[in-house]
């Protein structure tokens, strides 16, 4: 009986998040048309949601691993700013080509993650302290490197990382043929993965989700994807950012759910002592999570820098809080050991849609902050309430 309850609760959580996202989108669509403005869900807006929030999703992927392992990283905003500045320096001042700048910057990010992870993992200094220090140190380092100036602009190739679109190999152009093909393939893949998971659940004797619920949800997801794909195709096609995001999301979802190391990270957060006594090198895993976070912060830093077409000393302010909020809205546990990539992505999208929707509605930044804060609180209260019920 308890099994059935907990599995239903789990489904409720994920579906609830998805429903919340759909409801928020619907709400803004209504409110925007009520103001007599152009449709909320038009192609440029959809494209912009991904362009403007890509970095949050990327940071949240790394942040999920950190939080699942039982830690926190407050430094990612500063690290993103610093690595963005490094990329700008290498590109503009040193004149290196973008294919060299990107890996070099990612390595710098990894080293920063390693420097922080070392103290957290091997010296057991609380991650809150280490990364709070990192937050200050790398903010300062950014100012130092930039000398208080902006660096820019960038060559086209570097910019295209964040503002470019995939080429249309079909030559159709209007609508964007390749985008339509990829959309169809992704929808097919989503349905197939869902069916396979269902079959596996049935085989293991796991109480499966009610059939209606499954198909209802799959239909909503497929319809949403078809709509987004078509809108994007009728505008300028798939943004490069979305391609990078999709690859990373699939990769991290696979890593966290289907690999030995991914599973072990959950074990470390779930019960570190038990994990250790089961032969898991908990310190190394925590170290890895921080290195990974550093690399993703560097990627996010470059994307933001490329989008703004300049590295600025103030870049990345508050990114860490957006990423952390996305992870918790996405259902991760504060104490570690649980949380899913898909939840995090939905969490980040909820924040992104709200940012954009409220801006279009002309809601001031003051109210925006308050509303976002209350949404975060509500999401976590919903979680706790569900758990205690």
């Amino acid at each position: 009986m308890a099994d059935k309850q907990s599995s239903l609760g789990g489904h409720l959580r994920e579906n609830g998040m998805l429903l919340a996202l759909v409801a928020i989108v619907a709400l803004f669509s209504i409110l925007v048309s009520a103001q007599g403005k152009p449709m909320f869900l038009q192609a440029p807006n959809i494209t912009n949601i991904f362009l403007q929030n890509g970095h949050v999703i990327i940071l949240a992927l790394g942040m999920l691993l950190i939080i699942v392992s039982g830690h926190i990283d407050l430094s990612v905003g500063s690290v993103a700013a610093f690595t963005g500045a490094v990329a700008a320096y290498l590109t503009v001042d040193a004149g290196l080509p973008f294919w060299l700048v990107i890996p070099l910057t990612l390595i710098v990010g990894g080293l920063i993650g390693a420097a922080q992870g070392y103290w957290v993992a091997f010296w057991r200094i609380p991650s809150f302290i280490v990364t709070l220090a990192g937050m200050m140190v790398f903010r300062g380092a950014t100012l130092l490197l930039l000398g208080g100036q902006n660096i820019g602009p960038f060559p086209k190739a570097f910019q295209s990382m964040s503002s470019g679109f995939i080429p249309d190999l079909t030559g159709l152009m209007k609508p964007h043929g390749l985008t339509l093909i990829i959309t169809a393939l992704v929808i097919a893949a989503v349905v197939w993965v869902g069916l396979r998971a269902r079959a596996r659940d049935a085989e293991f004797g796991i109480t499966p989700e009610p059939t209606g619920l499954f198909w209802g949800r799959t239909a909503i997801i497929a319809a949403a994807m078809a709509f987004v794909g078509y809108q994007l195709a009728s505008f300028r096609g798939l943004p490069n950012v979305l391609v990078v995001l999709a690859i990373l999301i699939v990769l991290y979802a696979f890593f966290t759910e289907n690999t030995v190391q991914g599973r072990r990270i959950y074990a470390v957060g779930g019960n570190e002592k038990a994990a250790k006594l089961s032969g898991i090198r908990t310190d190394r895993l925590v170290f890895f999570c921080f290195v990974n976070m550093g690399v993703l912060a560097a990627l996010a830093g470059m994307m933001v820098t490329a989008r703004l077409n300049s590295a600025t000393p103030k870049a990345g302010t508050g990114f860490e809080l957006d990423a952390i909020a996305a992870v918790f809205i996405g259902g991760a546990s504060m104490t570690g050991g649980s949380g899913k990539i898909i939840g995090v992505v939905i969490g980040a999208l909820i924040m992104g849609v709200m940012n954009m929707g409220m801006s279009i509605l002309g809601i001031g930044i003051d109210y925006q902050q308050m509303i976002k804060g209350l949404v975060l609180l509500a999401a976590v209260i919903f979680d706790v309430y569900n758990k205690n019920k």
């Binding site: 308890a2 085989e203 004797g205 796991i206 289907n258 074990a267 779930g270 019960n271 038990a274 090198r281």
Partner: protein, 511 residues
């Protein structure tokens, strides 16, 4: 002599267990009364009834204190009457000063404002009384356990104690500190403080106690006066009983030596210079169930964990051999690879990830076993878990169930499954039946028997002597970090084990 305390026919029932069954205890004014008994005999429960941890109404029987019936609602109530208990685990706050700790909850204050000069002055007086020469502002955590014990007593004195209860006060103390504490007890007695001491150490008891009450299986067996106290008598009273449980029939068939530890030592991880394991040598044969007996805190768990991947202590010395060949056990991973498993005594804190489902807990120590090139095969994971569910009889609606929802016995089976999936040659089982009801105990014993019949070695640590005697082919007796004796299946009985421990304690006393 007048009677200060009389507890008559105290019965305390927990769900499924009768912890106390009509226990009676009489304490005279000004005496030191010792209470003896095995682990789990009910000593601490009796003291918790007395001190109000279990309030009046949650037990049967009555208590007369100072000529009046005693009906404590809580600890404050009993402390108000001068009954103060000092628990085995000290309840001091390590980061605060002595003065702050002494008057915690009882602050020297007017209108909520603490007068520190007054508190310090009172602290100094109390510290003088217990013979502790430390400034009242000293931070408690920096003092040794012995001094902390004295602070606890000073705290009791500050509350105008009339009946002081000490629960195994010397268990964590070094020889000299223990001596000092016993002296203080005698001094307090001279000042008229009545005391109850719970202790295993018979040399201490015969030094300070005026009378002894022996408790066994939740009933009081006897009360002896000072001249009746003798080692043999006490041991007989402590353990003299029939086997309370049943054990599966098995014919021991030991093979070659599988596991050998030679001259194994290690040191306390924090307290420099405190040797916890002192040159232990032992072995287990294939198909053999070997026990380690000893009282709590004698280093059995520390021994097992230090062998299992150096999970306890530092400065490890000695050799571990499997099948005659030395093996590297410096990390848990290497120990598992060498064929060793350790089933912890604390399955909730150290053995399980409670919020995760059964199958994920079972695969945890051998994820590689359900993976191909690092990618998990979840179908295989479920099959493995399902296999163990059937084999060990884990009662659950499904292997997706979170382990937090299982009973103690079923949780233990999940832990056992986890280790069996690593295909160990040797299983070290630390208190394998702790917190498990009688029926499930039998199932765990049966699993142990099956393991031995498969040719695996089992090393079982237990504080329950009947279970060691019922299951083991050989029993090592451990005390103070050393093996102090080894008994074969036929020669072992509870009295011999107790005698080895008690005599070793006394030997330490003489030397």
């Amino acid at each position: 002599m007048t009677t200060l305390l009389e507890m008559r026919e105290i019965t305390k029932v927990f769900p499924g267990v009768k912890a106390l069954d009509r226990v009676s205890l009489t304490v005279e004014v000004g005496e030191i009364h010792a209470i003896c008994g095995e682990n789990g005999a009910g000593k601490s429960t009796l003291m918790k009834v007395l001190s109000g941890v279990y309030p009046h109404g949650s037990y049967d029987g009555d208590i007369t204190y100072d000529g009046e019936p005693l009906a404590n609602r809580d600890i404050r109530d009993s402390e108000h009457k001068g009954i103060i208990i000092i628990h085995q685990e000290l309840a001091l706050i390590p980061l605060l000063s002595i003065a702050e700790n002494l008057f915690m909850g009882n602050e020297v204050a007017t209108n909520g404002v603490i007068s520190w000069p007054m508190a310090f002055k009172k602290t100094e007086a109390l510290l003088r009384q217990v013979g502790l020469n430390e400034p009242p502002g000293a931070v408690v955590g920096k003092l040794g356990v012995g001094k902390q014990q004295l602070i606890e007593i000073a705290k009791a004195l500050s509350k105008n104690v009339r009946l002081l209860i000490l629960d195994e006060p010397t268990a964590a103390l070094q020889e000299a500190d223990a001596d000092r504490l016993l002296d203080l007890m005698l001094e307090l007695k001279a000042q008229g403080v009545t005391q109850i001491i719970i202790s295993h150490k018979l040399n201490e008891i015969s030094r300070v106690a005026d009378r002894i009450t022996v408790i066994r299986d939740g009933t009081s067996v006897s009360t002896l006066s000072k001249d009746e106290i003798s080692e043999d008598r006490i041991i007989r009273d402590m353990v003299g009983r029939d086997m309370a449980h049943r054990y599966p029939e098995r014919t021991p068939n030991p093979g070659d030596v599988l596991f050998e530890v030679e001259n194994w030592s290690c040191w306390h991880p924090e307290q420099a210079g405190r040797k916890m394991i002192k040159g232990v040598s032992l072995n287990v044969r294939k198909g053999e169930i070997v026990g380690i007996a000893g009282l709590m805190g004698t280093g059995r768990t520390e021994l097992a964990m230090s062998i299992f991947g150096h999970s306890y202590g530092k400065g490890h010395e000695g050799t571990v051999r499997m099948n005659g060949k030395p093996v590297d056990v410096t990390t848990v991973g290497k120990a598992i690879e060498a064929g060793i498993s350790y089933v912890t005594e604390d399955r909730k804190a150290l053995g399980l990830i409670l919020e995760e489902p059964i199958l994920r807990n079972i695969s945890l120590a051998n994820l590689v076993g359900i993976a191909k090139r690092s990618v998990l095969d979840k179908r295989r994971e479920a099959q493995v878990a399902e296999g163990y569910r059937k084999q060990l009889g884990i009662r659950t609606p499904g292997v997706q169930q979170k382990v937090v929802n299982l009973s103690g016995g079923n949780q233990q089976k999940v832990v056992l499954s986890k280790w069996l999936f690593t295909d160990p040659q040797l299983l070290i089982l630390d208190e394998p039946t702790r917190g498990i009801d009688v029926g499930a105990k039998f199932e765990i014993y049966t699993i142990m028997k099956d393991l031995a019949e498969q040719g695996r070695g089992v090393l079982m640590i237990s504080s329950e002597m009947p279970e060691l005697l019922g299951m083991c082919d050989r029993i090592y007796v451990m005390n103070e970090g050393r093996i102090v004796g080894e008994l074969g299946r036929d020669e072992a009985d509870q009295e011999k084990i107790m005698a080895l421990i008690v005599r070793d304690n006394n030997k330490g006393k003489v030397a």
